[in-house]
């Protein structure tokens, strides 16, 4: 939590142009045609971190033990996080259809999102603090 009160999930947004897949030199990443999610092949992954560098939101991270990359695979089309969130009535995460929107815009680094959210919530005061 970078700023108290400004909490948010930090997830893969499945950009239209998939910069991570392009950047992967060992071809460990691929796009699931059905769901649009990025799937990682743990056997091919070398843990170089190139995909983290190119990701606009710095979403992927390396597993501390296996040293391979972890990216949200949307649980095969039925994301459990969204399910739980809806069950709990938080209504923060939900599954949306892939339309004409720019999904890349939702892939943002946590610092940026926190800053925006804080300014939206606290107004000018947050700008002074940040």
């Amino acid at each position: 939590m970078l700023i108290p009160g400004a909490e948010f999930p930090h997830l893969c947004a499945q950009c239209e142009d998939y910069p991570c897949v392009d950047a992967c030199s060992s071809k460990a990443l691929s796009v699931n045609k059905k769901t649009g999610a990025v799937t990682a092949d743990a056997e091919k992954c070398t843990g170089c971190g190139d995909c983290i560098d190119v990701c606009p939101g710095k979403v992927p991270h390396v597993h501390p033990k296996t040293k391979t990359i972890l990216i949200c695979d949307l649980c095969g089309g039925d994301p459990q996080c969204a399910k739980v969130c809806q069950e709990g009535g938080w209504n923060c995460l939900r599954v949306v259809e892939r339309g004409d929107e720019d999904f890349k815009l939702y892939s943002r680094a946590p610092e940026e999102t926190a800053r925006n959210l804080a300014i939206k919530t606290y107004g000018e005061k947050a700008e002074e603090l940040l």
């Binding site: 004409d100 720019d102 815009l105």
Partner: protein
């Protein structure tokens, strides 16, 4: 005729006479209303002396025309037209708002204004009481002040005259800002702070007639229709379709500022030098987070509500208010000037609307000036000390004010991009037209043709009778999907394009038939009113004058910039193909019934019973 109030209001400002006129029923049947009917009246009255009519002189006519759909089809629009000071032809420019509905409820199908008032006046209409009132208190005020002052005055008048009615709701108003008063050619007719009939420059026409505003209050019912039950059911259908249109309801056109740059490579950047950007700080989510204060707003009866209200709440530009800004303003007052933050864009949009400008036209002029500065053609001394670097918001704001009040260099730039390029070119001894991205004197909308990924087509701007108007583009074949004939129907009936995404191509004619009891079909419109209007507007455009006339062989083309290759982005290197455009233009001439010089042939005009147009076109043919 069913669906019409039955009378038009004719106001002569020179003699301050006000009278009601009726038009022949065949005209209404053929031309429906709005843009088409205005074209008919305008050509009947002025075509024989068109080249001599100064668009900013007293002879010019100014029309405020709703159509039979206004008030019934969800979301009302009004067409503002006359002889355009930008293209010297006729441009049908529509503006959203309640004006058309109020006017029809007041018992009028349209207003025709002629002459020139001695001193500033505004027109106040309450049903059949029509009055020209002194506008000395509101003359010189900006859009937001004008709106507020007019509201106060009109409501006071209404309360005085009709004391036992209760509290009056605000009347619908169309007015101009300082730019219109100074006869600046990029000026627009403004409604509700930030809605504008932009293309064509009719703000300047209103200013030249010393008409500051038109305020209407109608208390009657809408005109009677043929089949009310069917209309109710059809309105429901349109609404349901619009409710399903999640993208438009959620984002409006506000998503365009990022996506037309990043995805389709068709956004004007630094005066069209590039068309691609990937500036994620200009994304729609940033607009939503930083400036949107109201996520849904719409005009009366509109189910799409693509409008959002933006307000800058902190920082240097605190207090700037505008709607969305929509994509065109996002583009022209954003990347086009090298500006890539929502706050600065909202500030510029708000300022431009306050001054009474069309955002597209003034954005294009500002971009044009900034490019000349970049190339060293205009120096800081020329610009009265302004450092017009890309992204320098304060300099752009100062220049916009200079243009609105015609101070210094602003006087020259106030003639619009095309004329400013001609005049500056003479002063500097250089050909500056390649930097002016215009079609027939009208700056093209923010949809480039070079990448081929947008909805704009190669000959869309070149062959359109409204020049660079992106809402009236055309395409081959002439009876095909992208043709201008259907746009003419939209602007004549009048309906908003954004509420009509879900309806089928024949739905609008059924709706028209249900209102008027006529029997119009898609084909009937193609060979009747639509084609006639196209020919009339084409004839008026070619007759042109008095300062500029278009030569179809040269001017039926894209602006020179569209033949330069794109320097960046996924479509790098792509460019317009001059040969293919030429061939397509020739083909379009054929299909539209124009000769190889682009002039409507006598045969075409005679079959359409437009002999009077043919007579006036005779002088072009020899």
């Amino acid at each position: 005729m069913l669906g019409y109030a039955g009378k038009f209001l004719e106001v002569d400002l020179s003699t301050t006479s006000v009278k009601n006129i009726t038009l022949p029923e065949e005209w209404l049947k053929d031309y429906i209303g709005g843009r088409a009917l205005a074209a008919k009246i305008l050509s009947e009255r002025l075509i024989c002396k068109w080249e001599k009519v100064d668009p900013l002189g007293p002879e010019n006519l100014l029309f405020f025309m709703p159509g039979p759909f206004t008030g019934y089809f969800p979301g009302g629009r009004t067409c503002v037209t006359g002889k355009s000071p930008q293209s010297n032809g006729m441009v049908g420019s529509t503006v959203g708002g309640e004006f058309g509905v109020e006017l029809r409820c007041a018992g009028y199908d349209g207003i025709i204004v002629s002459g020139k008032a001695e001193k500033p006046v505004y027109l106040f209409i309450k049903d059949s009481d029509v009055e020209l009132r002194d506008a000395k208190d509101i003359w010189g005020k900006d859009s937001k002040q004008t709106d507020a002052l007019l509201n106060l005055e009109c409501r006071r008048l209404l309360a005085e005259r009709y004391p036992r009615v209760g509290v009056w709701k605000e009347p619908a108003k169309l007015y101009i800002g300082p730019a219109g008063e100074m006869k600046v050619r990029p000026a627009a007719v403004i409604a509700k702070w930030s809605h504008a009939a932009g293309y064509g420059g009719y703000g300047a026409v209103m200013g030249s007639k010393n008409l500051k505003a038109v305020a209407v209050k109608g208390t009657g019912p809408l005109p009677e229709v043929a089949d009310l039950e069917k209309i109710k059911q059809m309105i429901n259908e349109v609404c349901k379709g619009s409710y399903r249109n999640v993208l438009w309801r959620r984002w409006g056109t506000g998503g365009g500022g990022y996506s037309f740059g990043a995805d389709t490579s068709s956004e004007p950047i630094r005066n069209w030098q590039e068309e691609w950007h990937d500036q994620r700080e200009y994304g729609v989510d940033q607009f939503e987070n930083k400036v949107w204060v109201k996520p849904a707003w719409s005009d009366f009866g509109c189910p799409t509500n693509c409008l959002k209200i933006s307000c800058v709440r902190s920082g240097k530009y605190r207090g700037s208010i505008t709607d969305t800004p929509d994509y065109e303003l996002q583009a022209f007052l954003g990347p086009n000037l090298g500006v890539f933050t929502p706050e600065e864009n909202v500030y510029l949009s708000s300022l431009v609307e306050d001054l009474g400008f069309c955002g597209i036209q003034v954005g294009s002029v500002l971009g044009f000036a900034a490019e000349l500065f970049q190339r060293g053609i205009l120096t800081q001394a020329d610009l009265d000390g302004l450092e017009l670097k890309w992204g320098n918001v304060d300099a752009f704001a100062d220049l916009a004010k200079k243009i609105a009040y015609r101070q210094g260099i602003g006087d020259l730039l106030a003639e619009g991009t095309y004329r400013a390029a001609l005049k500056l070119g003479k002063l500097k001894g250089k050909d500056l037209l390649p930097y002016a991205v215009t079609g027939k004197g009208i700056s093209v909308g923010a949809h480039g043709i070079r990448s081929g990924r947008d909805f704009s087509r190669e000959i869309g701007y070149a062959c359109s009778v409204q020049g660079g108007d992106h809402t009236s583009m055309t395409d081959l074949p002439i009876d095909g999907w992208g043709s201008e004939i259907w746009t003419i129907f939209n602007d004549s009936a009048i309906m908003c394009i954004f509420t009509s995404f879900s309806i089928s191509s024949t739905f609008r004619y059924e709706f028209y038939n249900a209102i008027t009891g006529q029997n119009l079909s898609r084909k009937g419109w193609l060979h009747g009113g639509g084609m006639k209007t196209l020919q009339i507007q084409r004839a008026l455009l070619l007759l042109g004058g008095p300062d500029i006339r278009w030569n179809p062989l040269v001017d039926d083309d894209n602006p020179a910039r569209f033949y330069e290759p794109l320097p960046t982005g996924p479509c790098k290197g792509q460019t317009g193909d001059k040969e293919s455009v030429k061939q397509k233009v020739k083909k379009y001439y054929d299909q539209a019934g124009w000769d190889q010089n682009g002039i409507p042939t006598s045969e075409t005009l005679t079959t359409l019973k437009l002999e009077y147009v043919d007579l006036s076109l005779g002088k072009l043919r020899c």
